[in-house]
């Protein structure tokens, strides 16, 4: 999925600069700026309605900012026309909150959908669908309809659908919302695997703090196929080759906190402490 050159490149592949967006009810994002580096995972936290999902939709070019610029892969997404955006979005993966599977297509057809759009051969499509469904451990569901699956399975299929196109960056919109803790952990493990096996850069909007810390403190080891705890922040040498996770906390349409997981966990800020205790 990623070349060795890409793996070594740590420059920002997402850059939000003073981004604003609002609707009839008023501004939701009021000047947001941040960057995401190659292979980094950015966890977006915030209360409901603070603009986490909007941020992901802006990054994917599904919405346009009323002010500011958004650059992804060095291209200015906010200045692209609809036709350019269609091509740009094929380089991204977007996992929607409820999976957003096409309910009239079978699971296999759902996973094959973006590949058919890319006009791949049926042999190649068949192989990639099988691989993607095996990755999410749902290879037996290919002929089933999405309505026959549980909520957690639908989200796993949704991850398989984006995995089939092998995007270098994936945007996850509340991937564990409404799931029981065990299923939520399965989804987080899948996100870990995508990151650590394929080197995917990710932005995750979530309500669950434990999702963010799960991504920050663990890694998937492809050789032993096990989830391992990352070495602590004191082990500086080890951190160079470990995937970085950063948190951004929104408040009233602005970034209230941006930093490493340990900074967030150790923060004495009253709002952050109250916010962290409430989620």
């Amino acid at each position: 999925m990623t070349t060795s050159a890409q793996e070594n490149d740590t420059s920002a592949i997402v850059a939000f600069k003073d981004v604003k967006i609002g609707f009839d009810e008023g501004d939701v994002l009021r000047g947001v700026s941040f960057e995401v580096a190659q292979r980094e995972t950015l966890v977006l936290l915030g209360e409901t309605g603070t603009g986490k999902t909007l941020t992901l939709k802006l990054a994917a070019g599904l919405l346009r900012p009323s002010q500011g610029t958004i650059e992804v892969f060095g291209e200015e997404v906010s200045a692209m026309g609809e036709k350019e955006l269609l091509g740009y979005r094929r380089k991204l993966g977007f996992v929607f909150q409820e999976g957003a599977l096409f309910d009239s297509l079978t699971v296999g057809e759902n996973v094959a959908y973006p590949l058919r759009e890319d006009r791949l051969s049926e042999d190649e499509i068949g192989k990639r669908v099988e691989d993607a469904l095996r990755f999410v451990e749902l290879e037996h569901t290919g002929e089933m309809l999405p309505s026959e699956l549980s909520g957690g399975m639908r989200r796993r299929v949704s991850i398989a659908r984006i995995l089939a196109t092998r995007p270098p960056m994936v945007l996850y919109d509340s991937p564990t919302a409404g799931l029981d803790p065990v299923t939520a952990q399965t989804i987080i493990t899948l996100i870990l695997r995508l990151r650590d096996v394929f080197g995917v850069t990710a932005m995750i909007a979530t309500h669950r703090l434990q999702d963010g810390f799960g991504l920050a403190n663990f890694r998937f080891d492809p050789e032993s196929r096990r989830v391992l705890r990352l070495k602590g922040p004191g082990d500086a040498a080890a951190r160079n080759d470990e995937p970085a996770t950063r948190f951004v906390v929104y408040r009233d349409g602005r970034i209230y906190f941006e930093g490493a997981p340990e900074e967030l966990a150790e923060s004495k800020d009253a709002y952050l402490q109250r916010f962290l205790a409430s989620i």
Partner: protein
């Protein structure tokens, strides 16, 4: 009060603008790829074959009713033989296309609005866009093309079955000869009638598909919104079809006089 009216008017103008843009793009998409042939065939099957039973049944009965109504008047003048002429012209020019348009609007415009509306509220349309698919090409153009292609065919069948119903009613109720009825019915028609009867459903197909798509893709407010959009799609499409009928009839009569 003034502000409310101004806002309502602004929304109406914005709606008309968005609808026109969507409808225009649906047609422009035909000029370039990618094209979704399988979706076009699926929609032709849904709008065309799916609407066949209601169109045929309604056509048969309306033809029969026409004969009974006109026949009872002609009987007073001893001119029951003219029934075939009147029913044929009324069906082919007016009732066939408009009835088919309204029936298919009731069935397919609502169906299109509810399917697309459900896709919007479950983020399937956003997912489609996120995967690099243009919903206008994938969802709107196939439905509009299917509407334009299928409505004239359905209308032709409706006309035929209507005349069949008229024939049955005239034989059993007015004691007319079936061959005489058909001969008079066919001879009464000239090319301008056929042109008028086949031009209208093309426009009706376009109206019902674009209105269904527009109402579906602009759904707001979850599942309740889908219900509202479905109802609005049928109402707006039916009213637009009847309104368009007035102008199309005038245009067809003008063209009929000038050209044929």
């Amino acid at each position: 009060m003034g502000t409310v009216l101004t806002d309502a008017f602004k929304h109406l103008v914005a709606d008309v603008q968005d609808y026109s843009e969507m409808a225009g793009r649906a047609l422009l998409n035909l000029a370039s790829g990618p094209r979704y042939f399988q979706d076009i065939l699926d929609q032709m099957d849904d709008i065309g074959v799916g609407s066949l039973p209601i169109v045929l049944m309604a056509g048969f009965f309306i033809g029969a009713v026409m004969v009974l109504q006109t026949g009872s008047q002609f009987t007073r003048f001893g001119q029951t033989a003219l029934t075939g002429d009147v029913v044929s012209i009324a069906l082919v020019r007016e009732l066939g296309p408009t009835l088919t348009g309204i029936l298919v609007a009731g069935r397919s415009a609502s169906g299109i609005a509810s399917v697309l509306g459900s896709m919007v509220v479950t983020e399937q349309v956003d997912a489609m866009r996120a995967m690099g698919t243009d919903p206008s090409r994938k969802l709107v153009t196939p439905r509009v093309l299917a509407g334009i292609l299928m409505l004239p065919l359905l209308t032709a069948l409706n006309d035929f079955v209507g005349l069949l119903g008229g024939c049955v009613a005239s034989v059993f109720s007015l004691r007319l000869n079936a061959v005489e009825f058909w001969t008079r019915a066919i001879n009464a028609l000239d090319f301008a009638d056929i042109m008028q009867g086949m031009m209208k459903p093309i426009v009706y197909g376009f109206i019902l598909a674009t209105v269904g798509c527009y109402k579906g893709l602009t759904v707001r407010g979850g599942t309740q919104g889908v219900g509202r959009a479905t109802t609005q799609a049928v109402v707006v499409a039916s009213v637009m079809i009847i309104g368009a009928d007035l102008f199309l009839t005038k245009l067809a009569l003008y063209l009929g006089d000038k050209i044929f």
